[in-house]
Amino acid sequence: MVGRIHVVTDSGSDLPAELRQSLGIHVVPLTVQFGDEIFKDGVEISTPEFYTRLRGGSSMPSTCQPSPADFVEVYERIAEPGDTIVSIHLSSKMSGTYQSAVLASTMIDPKITVKAVDSRAASLGIGVQAVRAAQVVQAGGSVDDVLDVVQSTIDCLQVYFVVDTLEYLQKNGRIGLASALVGTLLNIKPVLTLVDGQVAPFEKIRGKAKAMKRLRELSAEFRERYPERQLKAAISHADSYAEASALAELLPEMAGVDSDVILGEIGPTIGVHTGPGTIALFLYGV
């Protein structure tokens, strides 16, 4: 008989717990380190606890990718010989998580197949890939069907995010090509994007309200780029629920996206790098 297909991602995917559980998506946590204290994301530290510490903390936290052994443990727990695991992870340009998954795939029972995927994204950019993969699995699709859907999502995924400050991206070395934006004296809300799996500057905007307006315009522009597709969106936020949900409500009407906008919270893994106040928008067509 044909083995089952399992979908695995990491804590950088920011999927809301209910959605994850309803689709049977497994999550391997990264660890977050505040000084000498180390926490497994979502296991040993919750998102609200994390932001309280981040805002009040004196030291800048950092993250650490899961070890191959962490992956082996999860893979062998969920799969049986003959099964296939589609394991979708943080962009390899920003994290070694994908590398750990690839290594782990060579360390487990050879009868379990692991298809590790470099999402070239972060946060719900990975999340939506995992969701679509799980939906294909639920609909009875083959491994190839799952991988095709994931690839097509990667190919059309457009990410825009607004940070309150570039300080966090800079201090953690994830600023990529946006380093030129550092050091401005004005209250500029940079709109950033991901290019080739790493952070790149997109625009400089004065003020958060204008930046949010710009995200709506960009959604409408994306709509025009893929007129033949059904447009989907996901929004994640770092301790900024009000702005994120306002955007989620406006998008279907203003930009013609489906009304089932996934709204998620940016957890510790990503939050360490973006800082509080970040709003991220993920657009893709199906």
Binding site: L186, E203, K204, I205, R206, G207, K213
Partner: protein, 557 residues
């Protein structure tokens, strides 16, 4: 006088410069808006004086040689829109005298006035009548008519003067803004003053002339000298000399001297080469250049000890070295490493604003704008000193846009001008600057970006006037929205608050306030509190701009 000799022609130009210098405040006072900037008289005077410096350095009395120095010097020294138009007038004037060597006849002079006027019209994209263009044109028409009637040179000049007077008096009838403000056109007045100076120089007795030319020209440049490079403290010796030799390879000289300092200029031909450099080791430079020939006219100044004189000194660096070609050769400063694709030069006054512009990626800040418009030469120097293949200029003042466009023609670099008319427009344009994109894409995006913001400025009135239904007394505080007087009041903060009320609408989300050098931070804090309370939905930002004359510069977007 039938024919004007070269010497007399030179005296006429000198007399015109002195006369304009004395009259410049009168011309300045003719600004349509009574704001303490856009000084037409000062700009025209500095432009003409830049040309005079060229003339003073030559011993030549050939008319066409003098005329070409006049054209060249004014072109490089042009400041403000009126200065640029004046430089174009002289360029045409010089073209008209190109065939004249010994003496200018009435016919020659009339021809020069006509070509001068034609050149000014060609230089302006949309010529507006009722301005100095009209004054120059009518002067040329009167001059031509006099020449037709066989008038001599003096007769032609007198006719031109009469034409200019007639046209100037008529400018308020052509331009309603002039009539409303109760003034004649300032640029036209400046041109008339120059013509009056010509006549004085032509008809004065030797004693009168001596008296006229002895009058001191006030040093204008000190108040807004081109910004001193930070490197002055190191490369503090401004070193200038001429090499007289044979078969000198200027490229080689330039290459060898480049690492020795800044602001390097090497121009000339095979036999005569002029060198200018700011260096820490003038001795080494002289030693090196001595191998190519005899050194002469050596001048070494310590700029560090001469900060105050620096501005006027810098103005001496025109290239009076014309070898017949029209190439303006300002080699690149600061050539270190590979040039980046695009650099940005911005005209800003005030330490705070300069810092803000630099933080937004501007490579070179040219001091100026409100207080004093930089010359075309200042802009050319700035462009050449940015280590980039192409350069974008942000004038940030309506009176600098024209010089910026003129600078474009005087450098080998590819230059684009985003016609920003205010500091907020410059900042807004910079939001759209992407170093990796092409020059064309950047210019398009920045020009669109600059329109996203509304500009407000708070300053004081330099004279009483009426603007619409606002009665303004001298020293009143006035608020300008998009360059037009919108509010008048007693205190900068009160006027700023009223002005912001006129600018904010339901789409506004960010209000930025840059307070000037004449205000205490507490005043700006007070405004911050008032505005933040009044517009809770807007983000309010307050920065120290440090700009002179303008208490507040405000942007609403």
């Amino acid at each position: 006088m039938d024919v004007i000799t070269g010497l007399t022609f030179k005296n006429m130009l000198l007399a015109a410069a002195r006369h304009l210098d004395q009259q410049k405040d009168t011309v300045n006072a003719l600004n349509v808006f009574p704001v303490p900037d856009g000084d037409t008289g000062t700009n025209m005077s500095l432009t003409l004086n830049a040309a005079i410096k060229e003339l003073e350095m030559t011993g030549s009395v050939e008319v066409n040689r003098l005329a070409s120095l006049l054209a060249r010097g004014s072109l490089m020294g042009a400041r403000g829109n009126s200065g640029v138009i004046l430089s174009q007038f002289f360029r045409g004037f010089s073209d008209g005298l190109a065939h004249v060597q010994d003496g200018i006849t009435g016919e020659d002079l009339a021809h020069a006035f006509v070509t001068a006027s034609q050149t000014t019209y060609r230089a302006v994209m949309k010529p507006v009548e009722g301005t100095m263009l009209t004054v120059g044109r009518v002067a040329a028409e009167y001059a031509a008519a006099a020449s037709e009637a066989e008038a001599n040179a003096e007769g032609v000049l007198k006719a031109a003067l009469e034409g200019a007077r007639t046209a100037l008096a008529d400018t308020p009838n052509i331009l309603p803004v002039l009539k409303q403000a109760g003034v004649v056109d300032a640029g036209g007045q400046g041109l008339l003053v120059i013509f009056e100076g010509f006549l004085a120089g032509l008809t004065a007795t030797p004693e009168e002339l001596e008296q006229l030319l002895a009058q001191q020209v006030a040093v204008q440049t000190a108040q807004a000298a081109p910004q001193l490079d930070e490197v002055v403290s190191v490369n503090k010796y401004c070193t200038e000399f001429i090499i007289l030799g044979t078969g000198i390879d200027t490229q080689h000289v330039r290459r060898e001297l480049e690492p020795q300092g800044e602001s390097l200029i090497v121009v000339g031909d095979l036999d005569v080469v002029k060198v200018h450099i700011h260096t820490a080791h003038p001795g080494q430079v002289l030693e090196f250049c001595g191998q190519f020939g005899d050194l002469t006219e050596i001048a070494i100044d310590n700029m560090k000890l001469q900060n105050q004189e620096f501005a006027s000194h810098e103005e001496n660096h025109h290239l009076d070295f014309s070898t017949g070609t029209n190439v303006v050769d300002f080699p690149t400063d600061q050539v270190r490493g590979n040039p980046k694709p695009i650099g940005v030069v911005s005209v800003v006054s005030g330490d705070g604003l300069a810092e803000i512009f630099r933080s937004l990626g501007v490579d070179y800040v040219v001091a100026g704008g409100q207080t004093m418009n930089p010359s075309t030469e200042d802009l050319v120097k700035a462009v050449n000193s940015v280590n980039a293949e192409s350069v974008i200029i942000l004038p940030n003042n309506k009176n600098v846009i024209f010089s910026a466009q003129q600078a474009k023609e005087l450098t080998e670099k590819q230059v684009g001008v985003v016609p920003t008319r205010s500091v907020p427009q410059g900042i807004s344009a910079l939001m759209y600057f992407v170093a990796e994109d092409s020059l064309e894409d950047n210019l398009a995006a920045m020009e669109e970006g600059m329109r996203e913001v509304k500009t407000g400025e708070v300053t004081y009135a330099v004279r009483s006037t009426v603007a619409g239904d606002l009665h303004i007394e001298e020293r009143d505080i006035i608020g300008l929205a998009e360059g037009k007087i919108a509010v008048v009041g007693a205190t900068p903060t009160g006027v700023a608050q009223d002005l912001i009320r006129k600018m904010v609408d339901e789409d506004s989300s960010v209000i930025s306030i840059y307070y000037g050098a004449d205000l205490e931070p507490e005043a700006a804090d007070e405004l911050d509190e008032l505005i933040s309370a009044e517009y809770p939905d807007c983000e309010v930002e307050v920065h120290s701009g440090g700009q002179p004359l303008y208490y507040y510069i405000v942007s609403v977007e």
